[in-house]
């Protein structure tokens, strides 16, 4: 018999309690995996979106925390495009609308110039691209078109009483863009009363590999004195107010879930030690050292937590995949939990087990053999 066999038998002797503890830990680990996975996955989705567009820097208004409220003079495009390191500058106006008929909330509307470089990464599945004199035309992402049930030639009321004709359905590598729509920049400026204004500029650099030159360019744009802040796409995404809030919420809820999971393990192990007081007394009487009793209880606790973490993480992966296929959320979540989050969840399990098992293990190992033997 191996030591671990004894530990496993101890776990198996109270199947219901062990099962409930594993389920409790699974819920905690699953919540952490799902929340952190969705949070970091969404962030990664946005970073990927800019990378796939080939964009190196994003320029927004200095000091703006809510990105949608950034408003810049569209004529700054000339200034930015004139910088020697910049190959191209593309203005973007962003808005978010609700399409209540389809029960879709938070659909992103991109206002792009029809000749913008950002179209390059999109693949048209049907119809055609926005023409220079497009008027009220709209391109729908493939997920959005499916959710709306629209095809080329149909009409979509992007704003109340303002129908746009669907001229094309596109597919991006990015789930976030697939749930969005693109309208001509001029149309969006007019409809949102932001004539001559844009939300941001996307910059493509001549030499993106030159990190030092990129840093210098960022400082130069910041120093133009035009109220501009340049940042890499990674920084742009990670400093978003909504993402920060989402991340903070995910961390908070995950922490609560972990505390609850730890308390579950603690409760189980305290009960186990109490019920096995006499047995621990016997083990001590026949020569088991405190350290071995400690290891036995901690190992039980860690194995319970590990089983829960594996189960919970697996459930979270399946749940996220399911979410990725739901019409309402399909465009916002990739359905994938980053491997790092999965590894972190599994690595957290022993910590949770140790935290939950530490007090009962210490208590059990410090029982006096004579008192423990008298325990009924």
């Amino acid at each position: 018999m191996h030591f671990v066999s004894l530990v496993l038998k101890n776990i198996g002797r109270r199947r219901f309690r062990s099962t409930f503890t594993v389920v409790g830990v699974a819920v905690a680990a699953g919540a952490v995996a799902a929340l952190m996975g969705l949070s970091t996955g969404f962030e990664q989705t946005l970073v990927d979106m800019y990378r796939q567009r080939g964009i190196d820097l994003v320029v927004v208004r200095t000091g703006v925390t809510e990105r949608l409220t950034s408003s810049l003079d569209a004529r700054l495009e000339q200034t930015l495009a004139g910088l020697p390191e910049v190959r191209q500058a593309a203005p973007e106006l962003l808005d978010v609308v609700s399409l209540e008929d389809a029960n879709l909330v938070g659909v992103t509307v991109y206002g792009w110039r029809p000749d913008s470089l950002v179209f390059d990464h999109l693949r048209l599945l049907a119809g055609k691209n926005l023409a220079p004199d497009a008027g009220r035309s709209v391109l729908l992402g493939t997920v959005l078109a499916k959710d709306l049930g629209k095809r080329v030639g149909d009409r979509v009321e992007v704003y109340a009483g303002v129908p746009f004709q669907v001229v094309g359905i596109f597919q991006s590598y990015n789930v976030y863009e697939n749930a969005a729509m693109i309208v001509p920049l001029a149309q969006l400026q007019q409809l949102t009363n932001r004539r001559g204004r844009v939300t941001l500029f996307d910059l493509v650099l001549r030499d993106r590999a030159d990190a030092q030159a990129t840093d210098q360019l960022i400082h130069r744009i910041d120093g133009l004195g035009r109220g501009l802040t340049a940042m890499t796409t990674g920084t742009y995404v990670s400093t978003s107010a909504q993402l920060r809030l989402g991340r903070a919420m995910a961390v908070l809820v995950s922490t609560i879930a972990l505390v609850m999971g730890t308390l579950g393990v603690l409760n189980t192990m305290v009960m186990a030690v109490f019920e096995r007081t006499q047995e621990i007394g016997i083990l001590r009487a026949i020569g088991w050292r405190r350290g071995r009793v400690l290891r036995m209880i901690l190992l039980e606790s860690v194995l319970l937590s590990l089983a829960g973490a594996v189960l919970g993480t697996l459930a979270a992966v399946l749940l996220c995949r399911l979410l990725g296929h739901l019409p309402g959320a399909g465009g916002l979540v990739s359905g994938q939990i980053p491997p790092l989050v999965i590894v972190a969840c599994l690595a957290l399990a022993p910590v949770l087990g140790l935290l939950g098992g530490l007090y009962p293990a210490w208590h059990g190992s410090h029982l006096l053999p004579t008192e423990a033997l008298r325990h009924e």
Binding site: M1, F3, K9, R13, L283, A285, I286, G287, W288, L368
Partner: protein
């Protein structure tokens, strides 16, 4: 019940070598009190236990015999006085767990086998504190179960064993690390007279053939008379001592 295997005998050589050595165990003026001295369990008890001796401690409930056994078994420390093992004071022993593991075997009235482990596994439990491998532990446990006559029940859980078989498994467990001293606290207290006789016969075999020093706590006078020496406890003191 299967036939018990013959015991290996090292008794003669051991007894000869023991002639010039200190007693195996010696208690010197030990006392034990609880709850700040309000309850006195032992009062100035001194005794010596020779190597290979078969000693019985008798007395009524509350006479202090189990407390004395706990002191001899290093399960508890005396409030005053000293217990010596092979001439070494236990109060100076840095690791009493290791001491118990290597030098003592315990047999309890209620057997105290772990209910989730088979007989074979129960006997292996004390061996976790030794350097034996898993296969060595199992081989040793099987050998001991054969010795006490329950090898055929090795794969059974305690609940599937008769009470006599349980006590035999408990004795095998006590012998797991080959201790020179076996301490038994009312080992026949839960047994019918026929089974009790079989268990005592097994103890006597161990004592005679292996030279194991045996300290038996009992309230059964007939049983105690079979020992080489009988100590009677009363009110926490040794009230009388008799050699058989």
């Amino acid at each position: 019940m299967s036939e018990a295997a013959p015991l290996d005998s090292t008794a003669d050589a051991g007894r000869a070598a023991a002639a010039n050595r200190p007693p195996l165990m010696r208690a010197e003026h030990i006392a034990k009190s609880y709850t700040d001295g309000k309850v006195t369990a032992l009062v100035d008890v001194s005794l010596e236990i020779d190597r290979g001796e078969y000693l019985a401690i008798v007395g009524k409930s509350g006479s202090g015999k189990s407390t004395l056994l706990n002191m001899l078994g290093a399960l508890d420390r005396p409030s005053s006085g000293e217990v010596y093992f092979d001439g070494q004071p236990l109060s100076k022993c840095a690791d009493l767990d290791q001491f118990r593991s290597q030098h003592l075997g315990f047999v309890f009235q209620a057997f105290n086998l772990l209910p989730i482990l088979t007989a074979l596994e129960n006997v292996q439990v004390p061996m976790f504190e030794t350097s034996r491998s898993a296969s060595q532990r199992q081989a040793r446990a099987l050998e001991l179960l054969e010795m006490v006559g329950v090898a055929h029940r090795a794969r059974h859980l305690p609940k599937a064993l008769s009470i006599g078989e349980r006590q035999r498994v408990a004795i095998a467990r006590a012998l797991a690390n080959d201790p020179p001293l076996l301490l038994a606290d009312e080992p026949t207290g839960n047994l019918d007279s026929q089974t009790a006789e079989q268990i005592i016969a097994l103890f006597e075999r161990l004592h005679a053939e292996r030279g194991t020093t045996l300290v038996l706590v009992t309230h059964d006078r007939d049983l105690a008379r079979r020992a080489q020496r009988v100590l009677r406890m009363q009110d926490g003191r040794i009230s009388s001592e008799a050699n058989s």
